[in-house]
Every structure is written in C-alpha cells, then in structure tokens.
C-alpha cells in the first residue's frame, strides 16, 4: 500500500477529482497548504509595498491506495493538474505499512478502498 501525496494548484482540484473519479478512485483527503517552489511567487502590492510572495496557495491531496492503483492515481493527478506552467506541483509516493478502516476495523488492502 502507498500513501500518495500531491501538492497542486487550487484551481485544478475539481479537474483532478474528476480524473480520479473517472478511474474509480473515490477516496481522497484534501488540505489547504502554502507552497514554495520553482514558481518564484508573484508580487503582491499591499499599500504600495511591492512584496515578493513566495508562499503560494496550494492544495494538498492525500490518497491511500493499493499498489496496483499507484500508477492510475498518478496518471489521474497528472491529467487533472498539469497545465504545463510552473507551479503545477509535485506528487510524492510514500510506503504505507498498514491501513485501518475505523468503522469496521478491517485492515490492509481491504480497508483502503
């Protein structure tokens, strides 16, 4: 099992969700985040002070999947989030040792979906 974490542009969230749903991945968790990367930020001018904002608004996805779903998930995120412009974000794949469904107590690959 893997935990797939992705940081994407907020305005792509709906598209990513749709791509995931198309591939029958329905279970995801989403968090707001601020990100700092190659996309150097933008200048925000508040009261005449031109500030380099380097923490941009991002959305963080966390998706626990069985191993055979990893590629599909990555593909879906790429399909939904890629605009080809800087700041599209990253996908991280982490190993996951265990997964428990709280409601039933099921464990492992059963529990994930």
């Amino acid at each position: 099992m893997k935990l797939i974490i992705a940081y994407i542009k907020p305005e792509r969230l709906n598209a990513v969700k749709q791509e995931l749903f198309k591939r029958e991945i329905y279970k995801i968790s989403v968090t707001t985040a601020l990100g700092c990367g190659r996309q150097k930020g933008y200048t925000k001018s508040y009261r005449g002070v031109i500030n380099e904002v380097n923490l941009l608004k991002k959305v963080r996805l966390a998706i626990g999947v069985n191993d055979d779903y990893v590629d599909k998930t990555i593909e879906a995120i790429k399909a939904g989030a890629c605009t080809g412009t800087i700041g599209d974000g990253k996908i991280f794949v982490l190993p996951m040792e265990q997964c428990i469904r709280i409601r039933t107590g099921e464990r492992g690959t059963e529990a994930i979906g």
């Binding site: 907020p10 305005e11 707001t32 925000k44 508040y46």
Partner: protein
C-alpha cells in the same frame, strides 16, 4: 432674549429667527405685516424640518451602499471579496461625480418632449447657501447611486474592473437620469415634468425608477457576461457556488433595511406625518416578504435557506417601494408576501435558463421592481387612506386605468434600461473587453485585478 444668544453656533439660529425674511423669501415683511411674518417663520421652520428629514433620509440611503457591498460580498467567494468591495465603492464615487456634473441636468433640467432635461449642466442649479436645491441634490445623488450599484452583484466574480468603472459612469450620467426624468422630473420645478408623470404613473419611492431600471441593467449584464466558470455543467445541470460569508450578507440585508427607512419615508422629502405611515407600511412589506420567502424556500427546497430568506426581505422591500405611500397595511402585507414568493421562484427559474446572477440581483430588483410597479395599479387605496378622493387601484374600485399606465411605464423602462444595457455591455465586450480571462477568474479577481488578498492569513479553499 439674552440667553438665546449663547446657544447658536455661528449665529445660525439668530440669522434664522430674525433674518429669516431675507434668507428664505422676499415676501416676508416682518415689521409691517405681523401675520405674514409669523406665517413665514412657521413656514421656515417647517422647511428646515423638511431639510433635516431629507438629509437624514439621504444619509440612510447612503448607508445602503454599505448594505449592497456586504450582501454582494457575502454571497460570493472569498477570492473576489476585495474586488466587490472596490466596485461598490467606486460606482458610488464615479457615479456621484457623474450625476452631479451631468446626470442631474438630464434628470431635473427643463424638459424636452417629456423625455430629457436640457439645462442645468455642470452644477448651475444652486442659488442660495441654505436653499432647498442642495438638499434635493444630496438626496437624489444617493438614489442614483443605488440604481447604479445594483448591477455589480449580478456581474460579480467575472467582470473586468476597468469596464465596470466605465459602465458605472454611463449609468449615472445618462441611463438612470433620463429614466428618472420620465417619472420624477417634475419634482424639481415647473417645466420639468416627464412624460410618464403626465400620465399619472405611480412610483412613489422607486420600485421602477431605481430598482427595475437597476435590475434590468443587471439582467443585461448577467446575460452579456455569461455564467461563472463552474456554475453550469456541460450536461446542463447546475452547481451551487456558495457565498463565503453569510454573517456579513445578513448584516448587509439589515443595513439595507435600515437604509430603506430613508429610501421610502424619506421620499416625502418633507417632515410630515405621512412618514410614519410610510415607515410602517415599508416594514410590513419587508417582514411579510421575508416570511413568505422562508416559507416558499422551506416548502420547495426542504430546508429554510438563509440566503433565499435574505433575498425575500429585499424582495419585500423592493416591491413595497413604489406603492408605499398609497396602500393600506393589509395591502402591504400582501404585496410583500407575493414579492417574497416571487423572488424564490425567480432565482430558481434564472438558474434553469442558465443566467448566472450570483446574488439574486435580477430576482430582487428587476422581478420585484416590476411587481411593485404593477402592485400600485392593483392595491392603490388612496381613498381608504384619505390622501385622495378616489383610489386608483383595481382592487379598490379604481378600474384598469392606473394598472394600464403602470404596465406601459414598466414596458418603457424595460426597453430603455435592458436595451441600452445590452447595447452598452455588448459594445464593451467587443472592444475593451467585459470579462476577465478564464485563468484570472479561477485565481480570483482580488489577486489579479488588485494584487490584494481580502483575508490575508486565513486558510480558505479558493478552488470552490
């Protein structure tokens, strides 16, 4: 008499009491004609009272600017909050200047063919330091600003800021003032009456002139712009795009409601007993609109939706605005209730036909402005109230004449404001552009148009 001299600031009162003759009219001759002198004084005090009340009314109408800003912001997304605030602020500012310099002349200048004012440009309407004209201009400016600001809600979250500025100048300098001339031109003096006025068109405080005109422009704007990204799906189904702050929106409605007590009772522009009646009637229309909207929403949608109920309050207020001086309490309750139901149906219908009006401006101001206009022809009960010998409303034995005039007026106003609005917005669309880029709309207008963040530090999902 001595102590009195301590009171006045800048000698104002003394001037008034003893110099009133010279200040307010040459026909008062204190020394030789005691009776007249006295009459003049009483008259002067009443005029002063009228001025005080009208200024208070104007200030309350100004407060509606804050109400509109709050409602529109609350009903839209956080990423566009600063932009909407900016638009509401700027349409008042540019509009005030435009109306003062140009619009007021079109509205209140000497009338040509009952259609348009032709003199008084560039503010030469002022004669005396303490005269009525200043007060009148103050009050009318606030009305003009109300009409202009209605549009911003329907066009929220996707309109270019610079285009909106241009729109607001044109409305305040031209579209609204000429509309105003037709029904209200005669308020300012002889020779300035408009053509609808001559027909006896009834719109006491502006369901038509302000709200229906503003609402029709809003409809034109919403159509010309098209819906926000994500509002309607390819398959025709509809998405909710929830407003980001219903607390602020509710506050906005209450502020508008407060302001309406200047809008309607203030339209007497006289400190007389009728203002009590008009205030009460206005309130009855509003509360009954709210209750009806709550009930309608609850029945149709299963739950009592706050934003719909808020629209109901505004619907009741808009609907009662034209007839507020001519209907009975029971009339007001019925008019408000129908307005409250109408606004819900209209919001649902506009969604169905894929016109995206984020705050319900069309349903509130156009639909209920129309309803209020027509309601005069049905519910006017002047004879019951004792303000005229005969009632003009159909239900009170007035026959169909008034109703006909009301329909005629509404049709004329729709052609004028929706037509001109459509022309204007389409012209902008094909020249300077009316709508921001898709990319910008997704990011939010605050950032793109203003470089601002309305809620710095708060964690907000801006994808919604």
């Amino acid at each position: 008499m001595n102590r009195i001299l301590k009171w006045p600031m800048l000698g104002a009162i003394a001037l008034l009491l003893f110099g009133a003759g010279s200040l307010f009219g040459a026909d008062a001759a204190p020394a030789s004609a005691p009776k007249m002198a006295t009459a003049a004084s009483v008259e002067t005090v009443q005029i002063n009272l009228n001025i005080v009340w009208t200024i208070v009314g104007g200030i309350l109408v100004f407060a509606m600017q804050a109400g509109f800003a709050l409602v529109e912001t609350g009903f839209t997304r956080a990423k566009n909050a600063a932009n909407i605030m900016m638009k509401n602020l700027m349409d008042f500012c540019t509009g005030s200047l435009a109306f003062f310099l140009i619009g007021s002349a079109f509205m209140f200048g000497k009338t040509a063919w009952g259609l348009i004012g032709t003199d008084g440009f560039f503010m030469n309407v002022f004669h005396e330091a303490a005269g009525w004209n200043w007060t009148f201009m103050f009050f009318q400016t606030m009305f003009c600003a109300t009409a202009a600001t209605i549009v911003s809600g329907a066009m929220a979250e996707r309109t270019k800021f610079s285009s909106y500025l241009i729109y607001s100048i044109i409305v305040s300098a031209f579209i609204y003032p000429i509309a105003g001339k037709w029904a209200w031109g005669g308020l300012f003096g002889s020779g300035s009456a408009g053509w609808l006025e001559s027909f006896g068109f009834c719109d006491f405080a502006g369901s038509t002139v302000v709200h229906f005109v503003g609402g029709s422009l809003a409809l034109a704007g919403a159509i010309a712009l098209g819906p926000r990204i994500g509002k309607f799906n390819a398959d025709g189904s509809i998405n909710a795009i929830p407003g980001h702050n219903l607390v602020i929106a509710t506050l906005g409605v209450l502020v508008l409601w407060i302001g309406w007590f200047g809008f309607n009772p203030g339209s007497t522009t006289a400190g007389i007993g009728d203002i009590g009646r008009i205030a009460l009637i206005t309130n009855l229309g509003a509360v009954s609109g709210t209750v009806a909207a709550l009930a309608t929403a609850w029945i149709l949608l299963g739950k009592p939706d706050l934003s719909m109920t808020l629209n109901g309050a505004l619907a009741g207020l808009v609907a009662i605005t034209a007839p507020c001086n001519t209907v009975t309490p029971i009339g007001a309750i019925l008019i408000g209730a129908i307005g409250g139901a109408l606004v819900i149906l209209s919001v649902l219908a506009l969604d169905k036909i894929h016109i995206d009006d984020p705050v319900g401006a069309v349903s509130v101001h156009a639909v209920n402005g129309l309803w209020g206009t027509i309601a005069c022809g049905l519910f006017n009960a002047e004879a019951v109230l004792g303000t005229a010998a005969a009632s003009t409303g159909l239900f009170y034995g007035g026959g169909f004449r008034q109703l006909g005039v009301q329909f005629m007026g509404a049709a004329a106003y729709f052609v004028w404001s929706f037509g001109l609005g459509m022309l204007l917005f389409l012209a902008m669309k094909h020249t300077i552009g009316l709508r921001v880029e898709e990319d910008e709309e997704l990011k939010g207008l605050d950032l793109v148009e203003h470089g601002n963040d309305a809620y710095a530090g708060f964690q907000i999902f801006i994808n919604e």
